[in-house]
């Protein structure tokens, strides 16, 4: 259960940034490994790409794109927070970052299906 003092939008923005960062760190080595198959095992890559055509995998990729986008926009929000003149409305910026990420992921999904 989330502790009561953490129940505020910017803590959720923080934890989303952390979780998306860890998830991407786990995903990227697998991603690069699969890309490397193009050099040594093109057949394996082809079967992998065929496997990735399944709807469930496309939906999982939607999740990955969301994580990537939310980490990107969340990171830009934090850079702006630390290096640009302070702006009020930090909760709004966090919400906009999530909304942009969801939009990007949704566009990916609609193009994929």
């Amino acid at each position: 259960m989330i502790k009561p003092h953490r129940n505020q939008p910017l803590w959720y923005a923080y934890i989303l940034h952390r979780i998306s960062g860890v998830a991407l760190a786990l995903f990227l080595p697998a991603h690069f490994y699969i890309l490397s198959l193009a050099l040594n095992e093109p057949e394996s890559l082809d079967s992998m790409l065929h496997w990735a055509e399944q709807p469930i995998v496309k939906f999982a990729e939607f999740g990955l794109v969301f994580l990537l986008a939310v980490h990107l926009f969340g990171g830009l929000r934090l850079l702006a927070l630390e290096f640009l003149p302070w702006k009020p409305g930090q909760k709004t910026f966090a919400a906009v970052a999530v909304a942009f990420a969801f939009f990007v992921a949704l566009v990916f999904l609609l193009r994929a299906i």
């Binding site: 009561p4 003092h5 953490r6 505020q8 910017l10 803590w11 923080y14 927070l81 630390e82």
Partner: protein, 243 residues
């Protein structure tokens, strides 16, 4: 009286760091009752040995902060009606991230030692024989300092901070906010020394910008903004080779 005969169920933390437990009390409900009123009623009527702190009761001294229903608050300005759970219970505990001396009274020594570590004291550049320095309240630096100057040292930000919880060396929002007000004080002569202090281990770069400090500060100060300011000024000073 609308509240005549009504009572509030209160769960109050009794004990110290090594042995504490919540104990239940029934307290008469009153109009415009604050959480501090509730604690005081228990101490005066049920538990004469209950330990807690308060002084001014008007939100100026910063001594009565406690954890109320899981959130840090100044209890003298927190109305019971604002924090009451649906089941009419209030849970009152000591502030987080500090050793408990007894019941609701915390040991604030470390909290204030960190103010000293952050060089939270003014370092003068003039003597009493010099003219008083004129500073316009509209100057950018003065406005930055003024934005953070009204801290009452209540410890609410410190108790709300997860970085303090996980890193005992972290100076915390209040001490860093204090350092930021001094960095922006043009009369002060310790800027570089202070920037070195707040960028060493446990300094401003440890902040994760969760902004719990800003969310719960009872004086609506913005320590996250102050810490971000310190990070920026320290980065610029490093690039210029000043520190």
């Amino acid at each position: 009286m609308a509240n005549e005969g009504k009572t509030i169920k209160v769960l109050l933390s009794r004990g110290d760091n090594s042995n504490s437990a919540l104990k239940e009390y029934e307290v008469p409900a009153k109009e415009s009752q604050t959480v501090l009123d509730v604690v005081t009623w228990i101490q005066r009527n049920l538990e004469p040995d209950l330990s807690y702190r308060f002084a001014c009761r008007v939100g100026m001294c910063g001594s009565c902060a406690m954890t109320v229903n899981g959130k840090p608050r100044w209890t003298c300005r927190t109305h019971v009606s604002k924090v009451m759970d649906g089941d009419k219970t209030i849970t009152i505990e000591p502030l987080r991230n500090m050793p408990v001396i007894k019941d609701l009274a915390c040991d604030l020594n470390e909290f204030f030692e960190k103010w000293t570590k952050a060089k939270g004291h003014f370092i003068p550049t003039k003597t009493r024989d010099d003219q008083v320095q004129l500073i316009s309240p509209n100057e950018k630096a003065r406005r930055e300092a003024n934005a953070g100057i009204e801290c009452i040292n209540c410890g609410v930000c410190y108790a709300s901070c997860d970085v303090v919880e996980n890193d005992s060396s972290y100076l915390g929002p209040a001490a860093l906010n204090r350092a930021w007000t001094l960095v922006n004080d043009v009369r002060d002569g310790g800027k570089i020394e202070r920037l070195k202090a707040v960028t060493s281990e446990g300094g401003c770069q440890s902040c994760h910008s969760q902004q719990g400090c800003t969310t719960y500060c009872p004086n609506t100060l913005n320590p996250t903004r102050s810490i971000a300011g310190l990070k920026k000024v320290a980065a610029i000073a490093t690039l210029k080779g000043e520190m």
